[in-house]
Symmetry: C2
DNA sequence: CTGAAAGCGCTTACAG
DNA sequence: CTGAAAGCGCTTACAG
């Protein structure tokens, strides 16, 4: 037995009470077209008396615009997406847009399902964090249908849609360069590094070329590129054994990789983590170890999370402007929805190095000679 | 200049290509009513060929149901709401429902605006975390209009809508009792404690009566009630000076309250924080102090956040089943939408004490005699 | 099982 | 400035 939803007050009811046509009532209530002050007041007070609320569905069916944007996030529960969503939500509310939110869980089937739902709900545009750089046919067809997409954090090759992200290479480069300047020579990195048909060795070879461009790669690879560049500039040789590749966005995977790295007899003296989830897994591994930060191990994390400011030691981080990324993406999308047809835009935002005390010069490890050169 | 949205393929197009009426096409595509295998196949292949996607707006306009639920959260960026939303989202996706999300920012005007938007978007039901226990007229009118509401975490008095929350009193009681059992006699609490027309002294007097019921109060007051009960059971006198009342959901406010408490010459030897945000502020204050956990100060936090498991020392917490709360609320709402008209339901979920090492017996403070009784 | 017709609640030309 | 009419893309009785 379905509960029968009361068919609320309609524009027809208002028009009848006000003694005008539905067209006139519509013009007043929808604030389009002309209306005399007299009719206007009649309609308004009738609407008030009846408690009229417009049915946006009906309006959208005609206008072809829903004033709704859809989002496909990786996982709305993660601090990264939660902050981005907040930024998107701010802009949406400010512009009287609704927001439909879905998760892909980094699964292409889910992503396709989400996009279909958003399409059927007739969103005016979408913000998507695509989970497969190569699997974007479903997105191509959205764009082809004239529905704007803004990609966030990650992108599909040759989709030709706007993009908002951060300068991953620069952020990682600066963090790793700081560790190198402190004298670290064995710097571990824990990253997702999932897509990519190459081994770490092969990527090192590619990325060592000064002309190598990683712009279209996934964030963790761009961050590894920054790692490589910092090493090249410092003249420090690369060691593939120092790279922990979790291959999926999972704290457990990262924890496992960090444990492996730290239990090695020639363990790294510093760790660079490639995102929030990798940081959580890595810190869990560190907490289980006997290592004291920063004396036994220096750490810098990509993405600054709330708690990093009040644990001991406080953790150094590469901060991404997550809220601003969401706002920029939403604003760009609204511009597109409003008809802005300038060429494809790429907004690459700057990261910020946050120094708090989780970096110190390396100490000599048992059985190892460490030459501290520093800056 | 508005970009003209291409009016996609409609059921009329499909019907024409398939050589059937729109009614028949609708029956096949919408999977309602009868259809012969022959027509069915024709319609399906025509739809496939044209790339038909139903326009859910049109369907909803007729059926009066949008298969969409709306959520009014406090702040989707907080880990508390982010997890709840994930739970809601899981159930929604599983049932092919869309999800429209808004924030109230604990501001009644925003909440009213959000509810209006959801109403105009014709959601089939709402999940709301109301920000004012007394200000619920806008919610009353929603329920009166036949649109089900499930309240989460907090509730409006006498709204007569379902509710999903946790046993705040019990959770707080057990945490504080554990501190008392360790010998703590001066236990501070940092909480929002915003609504309520009483002072802490007055509340202590009220809540000391064994028959006092705090079920309809805001969570932080219920948690303070648990604090009071644990003290009464242990025969430990209450001291209003030990309660830091931030009066708003703000980490800064909590930090300030914690600083005040900790800088007092007869400072507490243990702290109980009443929610995630209070914990963040409190931990910031602790990080700035000279106090070492757990030797100088024991801590238990209400709400278990990811990072509490891998900081040092790991933090003890009262875990709320946030994801399950969201799932339960969404499931209950879907039941109501499906027509379940049983009497108002209250789902009160259990918390779980998580012991990790941030609690130890108190040490004597300079200039104070401490009698450790504990077990 | 199928089709013609009406209609959901609005907005949009089009006359006046 | 206003109203009668048509129509957005579907679903729903109602005949057949």
């Amino acid at each position: 037995m379905l509960s029968k939803k009361k068919t609320g007050v309609t524009i027809t009811d208002v028009a009848r009470l006000a003694g005008v046509s539905t067209a006139t009532a519509g013009r007043v209530l929808g604030d389009y077209g002309y209306s005399s002050r007299e009719k206007r007041e009649k309609v308004l007070s009738a609407a008030q008396a009846l408690g009229y609320r417009p049915n946006l569905l009906a309006r959208s069916l005609i206008t072809g615009r829903t004033k709704t944007i859809g989002v496909v996030a990786g996982d709305i529960q993660s601090p990264f997406y939660a902050s981005i969503l907040r930024g998107i939500s701010n802009v949406a509310e400010r512009n009287d847009f609704g927001l439909i939110i879905t998760n892909s869980d980094e699964n292409i089937e889910h992503e396709i399902r989400s996009v279909r739902l958003l399409l059927e709900k007739q969103v005016d545009g979408m913000i998507v964090s695509p989970c497969d750089p190569e699997g974007g046919e479903h997105l191509v067809s959205v764009v082809a249908a004239g529905i704007p997409i803004v990609q966030i954090d990650r992108q599909v090759h040759s989709l030709g849609a706007d993009f908002v992200g951060v300068d991953n290479k620069q952020g990682a480069h600066d963090a790793v360069a700081r560790l190198l300047a402190q004298g670290h020579r064995r710097i571990g990195m824990i990253g997702e590094l999932g897509y990519g048909d190459w081994s770490i060795e092969e990527f090192f070879a590619l990325a060592s070329a000064p002309s190598y461009a990683s712009d279209s790669l996934y964030p963790s690879w761009q961050r590894l590129h920054g790692y490589v560049e910092a090493h090249r500039e410092a003249g420090v040789p690369l060691d593939p054994m120092l790279i922990g590749r979790s291959r999926s966005y999972s704290a457990q995977g990262a924890q496992h990789q960090a444990q492996m790295l730290l239990s090695n007899k020639s363990r790294p003296t510093a760790l660079f983590t490639a995102d929030g989830l990798m940081t959580e897994g890595t810190m869990a591994a560190v907490a289980e170890s006997d290592l004291a930060l920063p004396d036994d191990l220096s750490v810098i994390c990509f993405d600054d999370l709330d708690w990093m400011g009040f644990v001991r030691p406080r953790l150094d981080a590469v901060a991404q402007p997550r809220g601003a990324m969401g706002e920029a993406a939403a604003q760009l999308l609204l511009d597109r929805i409003a008809g802005n047809d300038e060429p494809e835009k790429r907004i690459v935002m700057r990261t910020r190095q946050i120094v708090r005390g989780s970096v110190a010069p390396p100490r000599a490890l048992p059985g190892q000679a460490v030459s501290v050169t520093g800056q």
